[in-house]
Symmetry: D2
Subunit: 140 residues, 4 copies
């Protein structure tokens, strides 16, 4: 899979490829996702679409949590709340995500999105579900 752009050992993330979102750091319970704003990321007002910022957080949460999972486990977002603090028109965004608490079935995570000047762009908190992976040949 030579076009794989993620630091994760997981298969390619098609949606992340589409919007130009990359993992740039990944360690136990932590990861960093980044994205350079282009015209493709803008809303009708000419500012960064909220869905782009959100995707940095949601993807980062999945990535950070995946570093703590067993080989036969996977995870899914239960809920995320994101607060926007600063609008953006261009430049590079970095999102740091940490697993704050991990139980057997549920984990709680926090993401912080900043601009290149280290100013807060958004913060998000989320709950993820952890469950045993369904073998691929059982998935309809």
């Amino acid at each position: 899979m030579p076009e794989e752009k993620s630091a994760s050992s997981k298969p390619a993330n098609r949606f992340c490829d589409l919007i130009g979102l990359h993992f740039t750091e990944m360690e136990k319970g932590f990861c960093r996702t980044e994205l350079t704003i282009t015209d493709f990321h803008l809303n009708p007002y000419g500012t960064l679409h909220g869905g782009v910022v959100y995707s940095l957080a949601d993807t980062g949460m999945g990535g950070a949590l995946s570093t703590l999972l067993e080989d036969d486990e996977q995870c899914a977002t239960i809920e995320i709340k994101i607060n926007y603090l600063k609008s953006m028109r261009s430049g590079r965004l970095g999102c740091e995500t940490r697993v704050i608490h991990k139980g057997k079935n549920i984990a709680f995570l926090e993401s912080v999105v900043k601009n290149p000047e280290d100013k807060l762009v958004a913060t998000a908190t989320g709950t993820f579900n952890i469950f045993k992976m369904v073998p691929a040949d059982l998935v309809k």
Copy 2:
């Protein structure tokens, strides 16, 4: 603007074009956004990326609120919380968004995302800020 794909009178939404998200209904305080899932929308598990579902809600909230704004007003997301109830691998998603409360500076909105069988995929609630638009020639 012949490439405009939105029912809104607003300029093209580049991010929505990128991910294939369309407005299919818009009336006072309400709108409907839709998207057909393709491989480009999937995460490494082969299921729909949460950022896609979120974008239906965030875009829908901006669209529904824009129907109630004055010509010199614009809006921005303050916060959105989304809860995921069902994962998806293919098919078409529809998101209905309603303005529940609109004050002078702040509005509260709700979005409901469903699959073609009318099953709940996600619900979101959000707060938007309403403010006077900055004339384009004053924006750096």
Copy 3:
């Protein structure tokens, strides 16, 4: 337990008694909680404290979900987000709560708080965890 004020078959809810919060309806997947505002519920501005409104929703979610649990199951709040739409100084508040989705371990609920004129005071969405009850003699 003659002082029991709740319509639930559960033991007394001490905190609800303290703040005057009552269950007034309970059916499968639904309940109604109510409270009459007194001076004890006010904040320094002389308006209803947000914690009171929140308690109507949190208690209501626990109550509505409890109607769908097995005898050996209990539930706990994972997260709740509440949006306030109207401040109050006096009068009676009613909160209707519905279980929107119930899985094996996780449930999603919505609460709507209204004043006597049926105007929205607040809305809340929450995620609850469902788990097997620990026998009382095993609790330290």
Copy 4:
């Protein structure tokens, strides 16, 4: 006002008095609220009611933000999301709240609730509205 129990210069907070919630630190953009769990704070399962933990955060957010307001300004909760990480049956809770961002009309705050062993009990994020106070003689 000799019965004032709050470190704030604001009038008495009746609801905080009712549930035994105190301000123990207050500086620019920060405050600490505390509460000792008694039987009055328990739910039917014998654990701490979520409304108590929430009230520590909501009250703390109002307190922390009030340190940054002008004399003729007041604030109100727009929304708070709280995640619960640990249940409690007894002991003392401390909640630290920080103003993360303050605009002219809107502020964003974070609260962290911990037990005496410094373990996370809950975290909350909230948005507050800031507005000019209505003179008391104009309030109906």
